[in-house]
């Protein structure tokens, strides 16, 4: 039981860390980024490349890969999403889908389809830590949990008190008025994509150290989306809450019903939520009419 609880919290922390990216981009620009899973995967591959070609040590490699992911995020906005500003919702979603499928192909061409282990390259021990009677957590999982907490605290503080955070919220609420008052929308949107890709990639980097990296990670990223939606797509605190619910359901389904359910359970919850309360637990109801 205690071990199950630990599993739920760790999985929830992964989903929440990835889910933050969906929320940031959606909240600021109303774009649903269906390539977020692939961008998360790219983060893992960036670590793999960094670990292979540079000798920076564990912390250095992780930081360098995370730094690269910020550049990736800005590039994604500058090269692709910039063209979609003000276009129909469908076009923006489709272009993220196209980006996702491109990245999947690109990843196999660049890094092969086999599962690879950046953790081994960087000689990560990943020793299990005993928490209580019959419950252990791996070192990397603990790091993921702490990273999630730090990331969310930072994002909260940034959006509430930071000058740029307030600008981002303004753009999310009313882009026209925000632009009128002198905020450069393109800079704000690029910033949102940079933050979103950064948090997603950090999740990808840490998970790749824990379990290795392959094409499958894109699906992990997509499975984090229901958590963000269950909490409310425009609410950060909702994403934490929703991710924990989804993680709980997934772990319970694997444990008590059928392990095959693990890939579907988040989507089952997503459908149920969309029927009952589409704007999520913490989201604003008006959201539904805005898209």
């Amino acid at each position: 039981m205690a071990q199950l609880a630990v599993n739920v919290v760790v999985l929830g922390a992964i989903y929440a860390l990835v889910g933050a990216g969906y929320v940031i981009v959606y909240r600021v620009s109303r774009v649903l980024n269906l390539a977020h899973g692939e961008l998360m995967m790219l983060g893992g591959y960036l670590l793999l490349t960094t670990a292979t070609y540079l000798t920076l040590g564990l912390v250095g490699a992780v930081l360098f890969a995370a730094f690269l992911s910020i550049i990736v995020g800005v590039l994604v906005y500058g090269l692709l999403m910039r063209w979609m500003t003000g276009q129909a919702v469908l076009a923006a979603v489709l272009i993220t889908i196209a980006l996702g499928i491109f990245l999947r192909g690109f990843a196999v061409l660049a890094w092969s389809a086999q599962t690879q282990y950046p953790g081994k390259l960087l000689a990560v021990a990943n020793a299990p830590i005993r928490i209580s009677e019959g419950a252990v957590i791996s070192t990397v999982s603990l790091v993921i949990l702490l990273t999630s907490i730090v990331t969310y605290s930072a994002l909260f503080a940034f959006l509430r008190f930071g000058r740029w955070g307030i600008r981002m919220r303004a753009c999310g609420q009313n882009p026209l008025l925000a632009a009128q008052s002198g905020i450069n929308l393109h800079v704000i949107y690029a910033l949102a994509w940079a933050i979103s890709t950064f948090t997603g990639s950090v999740a990808g980097i840490l998970v790749s150290v824990e379990t290795g990296i392959s094409n499958v990670m894109a699906l992990v990223g997509l499975k984090a989306f229901p958590g963000a939606l269950v909490g409310g797509l425009d609410s950060l605190i909702g994403a934490v809450f929703g991710s924990l619910i989804v993680a709980l359901a997934e772990v319970a389904a694997i444990q008590y019903v059928n392990p095959l359910l693990s890939d579907v359970m988040p989507f089952v919850i997503l459908v149920v939520m969309l029927v009952i309360r589409p704007w999520g637990f913490f989201g604003t109801r008006e959201e539904l009419d805005r898209v």
Partner: protein
Amino acid sequence: MHLATNGRSQSRLVGAILLAALIGFAFVGTQFHLDLANQTFLAVIGSLSLMLLTGYAGQISLAHGGLLAAGAFTVGILYREINAPFWVTLPASALVGALLGIIFGFPSLRLRGVYLAVSTLALHFIVIYLGSEYETSAGYSSGVVIDPPSVLGYTIQAARTWYFILLSAATLSLWISYNLLRSKTGRAWRAIRANETVAEALGIEVSRYKLLAFVITSSMTAVAGALFGYYQGFVGSEAFSIFLAIQYAAMIIIGGMGSLTGAVLGAVFVTLLPYLIEYLLFLLPGAEDAANTLFAANYAAFGVVMIVFLIFEPGGLVNLCHRIVERFRSRNRVASDSQVAAT
């Protein structure tokens, strides 16, 4: 202007020539070409139905792969469990499709845009899960084998026989779509796509027509899936990945939103693209290594083509053709005008 007044009879003429050419093709094409054509016809049916739903009724769906799977699995399950002939399985898969259409369409009564897209995406995963669950529980871990159907003792197996069947099916789908769009239903769909509130104010029962759009198109798609199952002689949940749904979305974008011709062009383009990529890849040195990563090259090329169309030609191939034709026309006009001026 001369062309516009005769547009109808001219387009009929073009259609007749095209049909004659397609029938002729059955007798000159090689086995490989016929197989390509058959795949294209199947894609055309699916692409038309998605075009009706998204391009005309304005409802986003990413569940097309799931619907094709549902049709194919209906055939597989009925054939394996009760040995049902095709005249039972095809209507059954249409029925399953219609039922799923109600389920898939239900969220659309409340949701729009992004939210609708993700609800259909989620349903895709659920349908695929059910299919793979059947596979494992029934012991067909690598997929369900379907024997070729037979009519009056004649087994439908040859590529050329399939060619005619699928050509008729695709033509029939086109005819149905064309007439649907000219009916009350089609007009209601366009009104809903243009502006839901106004449509409702005009007395159109928006929820009814939305559901109807889902039911009709899902049914069409499931039948396409059923034909796909028979044609391949094999149904496996692996074949219906999310990539399939993306391919269908790509067809209607590349072809051109809101155009049946676009749906057909898109289906042809998307079906043939992988073969073109394969051909080009093998021109490069070190082709033997490339064979393993062919699917990856496909994915990457797909993403690039979709992005290029979305950014530079959102009107798709149809719009591109129009523009090229217009350019030639205006050039001719300028040329003839200058001739007139000279004389």
